[in-house]
Amino acid sequence: MTWIGALSQLIQLAVAVLLAPLLLGWVNQCRAWLQNKRAPSLAQPYRMIRKLFLKEPVIAHNASPIFRLTPYIVFGAMALAAAIVPSLATDLPFATAADAIALVGIFALARIFIALAAMDIGTAFGSLGARREMLIGFLAEPALLMVFFTASLISQSTSLVTIVETLAHREFVIYPSLAFAGIAFTMVSLAENARVPVDNPATHLELTMIHEAMILEYSGRHLALIEWASSLKLFNYSCLGLALFFPWGIVEGAHDVVGLLWAIPVLVGKLALGGFLLALIETMSAKLRIFRAPEFLGTAFLLGVLGMLVHQLLGA
């Protein structure tokens, strides 16, 4: 571990944790513009998190320690994931500790705890949301793994760092296998981040919620952490997508600090474009009936498998 490596790790983590709400603010802003509405400020998610931190949390009498611990576990898991995904540099001390499969595990850990916490209080909506979340999760995870396997087969490794380094050096040609995997990844990301068409982050209708139904009982700093973790999750998925499919601009090996500082604006530019595309997808789609979600995620899985087969059989 070099000092630059440690520095890269620190900067990357700080950038992720600090910029994640900004990405959410940007997506919300684009959504509003696309609907011909006046947009809220970019800083709105920060204001909300600040407001929630200043408020006193209210906790149900029958809440167990799981309910209190979950916000910290979820936030911790998302911060850890932010440290693992190579978004600025590949010389990351943390990245060697966990590969792509472990990353899926970290996301699953957060999901399990948030679902447990939702059921902990015993309200109808919490259990409803937890049940739906597990349905989505159990369909999304295999599809996500398939995407990782395709990338791993190309680079002969499940380490994210190796994958990024390999993919960044290929000639600028379209790999059909990666194209399939890319579409599958986009679909999984929409589902995992509770976005339209699978879930609707803006709804106030309790009966239709998935993610929001699970966190209805949270307030104050707990809710702030969960909201922050949600934006971090979106940030992580976006960075993961960029690292796998558009890795150019990520600093490789033990580079100098200047390269690292250059990587930040490149990342911001790529995220801005990605965020706009997300808002565009959300504006153009209606929400799926919940029992269409298996079809949606089944398609993602199928595309993931197709990507892998194309690579194995055609070597493309």
Binding site: Q35, L205, S285, R289
Partner: protein
């Protein structure tokens, strides 16, 4: 005239609201009800009145719609233990009205469902607020109440209670779902949370200013309620409003219909997760509300219709502006309709969701907009056109699919038809007076109002009291008969589709809780 060959003598009330009225006994009531059912008629309203000071008895009143139009029956009930035969077997819509009649009057329908309906333990169960000896100013401490919901038992069946306080800004109502997984086995509603005592309040108001209260029975239907009030008042007072006023009332009612349908279409898109629809329709609705403000001085057109005419005339300039703005609205609406129709995701949510078949709609007495989407082709503007509707040949809109998609399509059709009507009304608006003197009706005079509001027909009955007061007023919103149909529409659907189905009916809480 003879009624159904029973030898019952019916008197005829003329005016804008033409009806037959007849006094019956309990046996004849059932016979007449069965006869109305036979003719595919429906129960319009059921209410009571306290006549102990005049006749030493109570009266139960029922309004039916049969092949000839409106028929009102009066059934005297004994002072002690007032009871009458249960009509819910003949007209399922009667169930809740009968329960409310118990809560408010202590009239006992000899039938299966004896639970309270509008009483939420806010007054003792020995007190009946609409009896004349009840003091409305008295207060009681709130008591805890047990309401026996119907439960479904079985493996994997569980309950989801929703409301009365909701996450969005809507009126209060409680929905108890019995579900297995995501599938709804049964939905039961509990309403009455916004019971404000409107009917009791009428009795304390002077008749000449009570139109303001009538316009607030359900705020989104204020024009229709004000018109129904004016119609009833004018019938009781035997006043003929000027023709120009009637045409202006038509303009007001259609503007209200357009604004509400636009708002609903936006929310239907939004509940399908299509926020673009909400943004666009909200904008269009706002355009209409601002046009209302500019032309009539009130965004929601409250208190524009008053007994004797209208409270504001339409200036030639405002009339020209309104006329100019209609074609643009129609063009934009056409574009949005194409977007809705071509959007696969949205149509997938709308189609076959919350279906009410025409047979079910007929047997439950589904009325108004939701009824027309399920093959119940009733529209007061077509069936019993009062001025100005008798001059413009209103086209009947409707469908038979009975799903959310049908109710969405019907809203589009009705807006286009309303825009056409507005064009005619504004183009052919007669000149002249728009308001006439409206002295209070004489004591004991009866009046009725029946108007096709955007949600369905609203019905109002009033009896004037002495000294320019009101003795009894009853207001019936179509939500009364349509809420129970929603319970059926949801059955077999999945839980997350409920908000969409609910919005496609968009029923009033305030209008039925009163």
């Amino acid at each position: 005239m003879d009624l159904l060959g029973l030898g019952l003598e019916a008197s005829v009330l003329t005016g804008a609201c033409h009806l037959r009225r007849c006094r019956v006994d309990a046996e004849d009531l059932v016979t007449v009800a069965l006869g109305v059912r036979e003719e595919h008629g429906r129960l319009v309203a059921l209410w009571g009145s306290d006549e102990r000071d005049r006749e030493n008895c109570f009266h139960l009143h029922l309004a039916f719609e049969d092949a000839q139009g409106l028929l009102v029956l009066d059934l005297p009930l004994a002072e002690e233990m007032p009871s009458y035969p249960d009509l819910s077997e003949i007209f399922p819509a009667a169930t809740r009205m009968q329960r409310a009649a118990y809560d408010l009057f202590g009239f006992w329908a000899i039938g299966p469902d004896q639970r309270f309906w509008v009483r939420h333990a806010a007054w003792p169960d020995t007190e009946f607020p609409l009896r004349r000896d009840f003091d409305g100013s008295r207060q009681w401490p709130a008591e805890p109440e047990e309401y026996p919901f119907v439960r479904v038992a079985g493996e994997g069946v569980h309950e989801i209670p929703v409301g009365p306080v909701h996450a969005g800004i809507i009126e209060p109502g409680h929905f108890r779902f019995q579900v297995v997984g995501e599938k709804v086995l049964r939905l039961e509603q509990r309403l009455g949370y916004v019971h404000k005592g409107i009917e009791k309040r009428f009795e304390e108001l002077p008749a000449h200013s009570a139109h303001r209260l009538a316009g607030r029975i359900s705020g989104d239907t204020t024009v229709a309620w004000a018109w129904a009030w004016a119609m009833a008042y004018e019938q009781a007072a035997e006043i003929q409003p000027p023709v120009r006023a009637l045409w202006l009332r038509g303009v007001l009612l259609e503007l209200e219909r357009v604004a509400n349908h636009l708002g609903d279409l936006g929310y239907l898109g939004n509940d399908g997760g299509f926020a673009f629809g909400l943004a666009q329709f909200s904008r269009l609705k706002e355009v209409v509300l601002r046009a209302n403000q500019a032309a009539f001085g009130h965004r929601l057109l409250m208190d524009r219709i008053i007994p004797g005419g209208v409270s504001t005339d339409l200036t030639p300039a405002a009339r020209a502006t309104l006329r100019e703005f209609l074609p643009g609205l129609a063009a934009e609406l056409g574009e949005l309709r194409t977007i809705f129709d071509d959007h696969a995701g949205l149509q997938d949510r709308f189609m076959s969701t919350g279906r009410v078949t025409p047979e079910l709609a007929a047997s439950l007495g589904l009325s108004g907009l939701a009824g027309r989407a399920s093959g119940q082709a009733r529209d007061l503007r077509v069936d019993y056109p009062a001025t100005p509707y008798d001059r413009v040949e209103v086209r009947r809109c409707g469908g038979v699919a009975g799903d959310v998609a049908a109710r969405v399509a019907l809203r589009f059709d009705e807006i286009f038809e309303s825009l056409r009507l507005l064009h005619r009304f504004l183009g052919e608006l007669p000149e002249g007076e728009w308001r006439t003197e409206a002295p209070p009706p004489p004591a004991g005079a009866h009046g009725f109002g029946w108007v096709e509001a955007w949600r369905g027909p609203v019905f109002l009955a009033l009896e004037a009291g002495p000294d320019g007061g009101l003795r009894r007023v009853h207001a019936h919103d179509p939500s009364w008969e349509n809420w129970p149909v929603l319970e059926h529409a949801v059955m077999g659907n999945i839980v997350p589709d409920f908000p969409l189905i609910n919005k496609s009916f968009n029923l009033s809480y305030s209008g039925q809780d009163l």
